[in-house]
Amino acid sequence: MTDVVKYLVSFEVNGESHRRDVDPRLLLVDMLRDDLRLTGTHVGCSTGNCGACTVVLDGKTVKSCCVLAADVEGSRILTIEGMSEGPDQLHPVQEAFVENHGLQCGYCTPGMVLSARQLLESNPSPSEEEIRRGIAGNLCRCTGYVFIVKSIQAAAEATTTDKRPSAEGAEPNP
């Protein structure tokens, strides 16, 4: 066994800068949960299969159990805690999950919501099949996915409707 040589990294989480000397063995998910106390990011498997640990790293969803904390130098990370200002100002995707019973125990929900957000960013009006492909990396043991899909459809509708007034006069809506 080699002695632990710490590694210094600077990164941003939910808009806040951090600088930390990390054990190279530390996984990003454990740093977020244990060091930064951002426990909304969950751990289901630790091996890349369940998606409970999903976060947005430099604009793209990743499974934070497969990323070393030492490897995030210069990165910008968004976790579920950074998605809304607070319980009164939920993100439209969160709002839609609440309204449409898109969660039961809530274990998969942070990852599910971040994957849904990522999908809607690149594809604002996805088909059911595209939604199912978009959340293929997130396992849910409770809902059977039907209400999750419905929630994402509702979020898509809400966001495209929301945008309409400001887009009026600019470009016709396809």
Binding site: T2, P24, G51, L57, T61, D71, A136
Partner: protein, 289 residues
């Protein structure tokens, strides 16, 4: 949590990475997307003394069109290959294979080079690389060598890469006009690893082609279709191709998802599907030009 400790390095240039590999040799592991390496370190299945991350290098992640070929940096992600217009226009089967890997999170982070270097027998890329006749650039401090895909895959999870070498680039020769290509996989659900993977290219008005099948042997099986296709893609041709696929997949191993017989039988089915698809695309292209 990973239990065994190791030293972490994040070189900012390829040369620096190569020096680290030269210094640490067999004790070092290269870290690309980490989608395979980090879980197997977490499970304790590999315990390197040094981890050399490629995630802070500049370069090795570009797709570049050249006169006769397309060069893809080893760090290009599955997501890049799935969405890059140069890739999908020249090698539709490669973007198809990339888009069927895992799930969005895996594709955002996992890389072409990482998948090829890991050499899982059921991975999606290896059959595609064989069918396309790709060439891999391997670099070490002592120089560079170019290895054909057919020589790169040596055995189960084993490649021609030496411990001091990096896979830096994948070069794929452009296809002759009128070539149809396709890739497919048999898997249980969206997001799961393939049981059998297959890729094909068909050219010369359906009289020439290559078929590669993964998941049925320690390394993917490449079948030259020319001798089968003398009369074009007839039922008779499909029958002789099916027997060759059956024979060449005798080394398949059973796993949690499938028995040897099932894999061999499905290899024939997947071969037929992927060839039919490539023939159809070759025809469509031929019709247009």
């Amino acid at each position: 949590m990973i239990t065994e400790s190791y030293e972490f390095f994040a070189p900012t240039s390829v040369d620096e990475a190569l020096s680290l590999l030269a210094r640490h040799g067999d004790d070092a592991k290269v870290l690309a997307g980490g989608m395979t390496l980090v879980p197997i370190m977490t499970l304790g299945l590999t315990q390197p003394a040094a981890v050399v991350s490629l995630n802070h290098l500049s370069g090795l992640d570009q797709v570049q069109e050249e006169t006769d070929s397309v060069a893809i940096g080893a760090r290009a992600t599955h997501h890049t290959l799935e969405t890059h217009a140069t890739v999908s226009s020249h090698f539709p089967l490669l973007s198809e294979a990339a888009s069927s890997i895992g799930d969005p999170q895996i594709r955002h982070r996992g890389t072409l080079g990482g998948s090829l270097a890991h050499a899982d027998p059921a991975a999606d890329y290896p059959p595609v690389m064989l069918a396309l006749g790709a060439r891999f650039v391997l670099r070490s401090r002592s120089g560079e060598r170019v290895v054909a895909a057919g020589d790169f895959f040596v055995d189960l999870l084993t490649t021609a890469l030496r411990a001091d070498e990096l896979l830096t680039e994948i070069r794929i020769p452009k296809l002759e006009p009128g070539t149809g290509t396709a890739a497919t996989k048999l898997h249980r659900v969206e997001g799961s690893f393939g049981i059998v993977t297959a890729a094909a290219t068909i050219s010369g008005c359906g009289r020439r082609g290559k078929l590669a099948v993964g998941g049925v042997a320690p390394i993917p099986v490449l079948i030259d279709l020319d001798s089968h296709l003398v009369e074009g893609p007839s039922e008779a041709a499909h029958a002789t191709i099916a027997s060759e696929v059956w024979e060449r997949s005798a080394d398949a191993s059973p796993d949690l998802t499938a028995s040897v017989e099932y894999k061999r039988s499905m290899a024939r089915v997947m071969a037929r599907r992927v060839i039919d698809h490539a023939v159809e695309r070759a025809g469509a292209k031929g019709g247009q030009s």
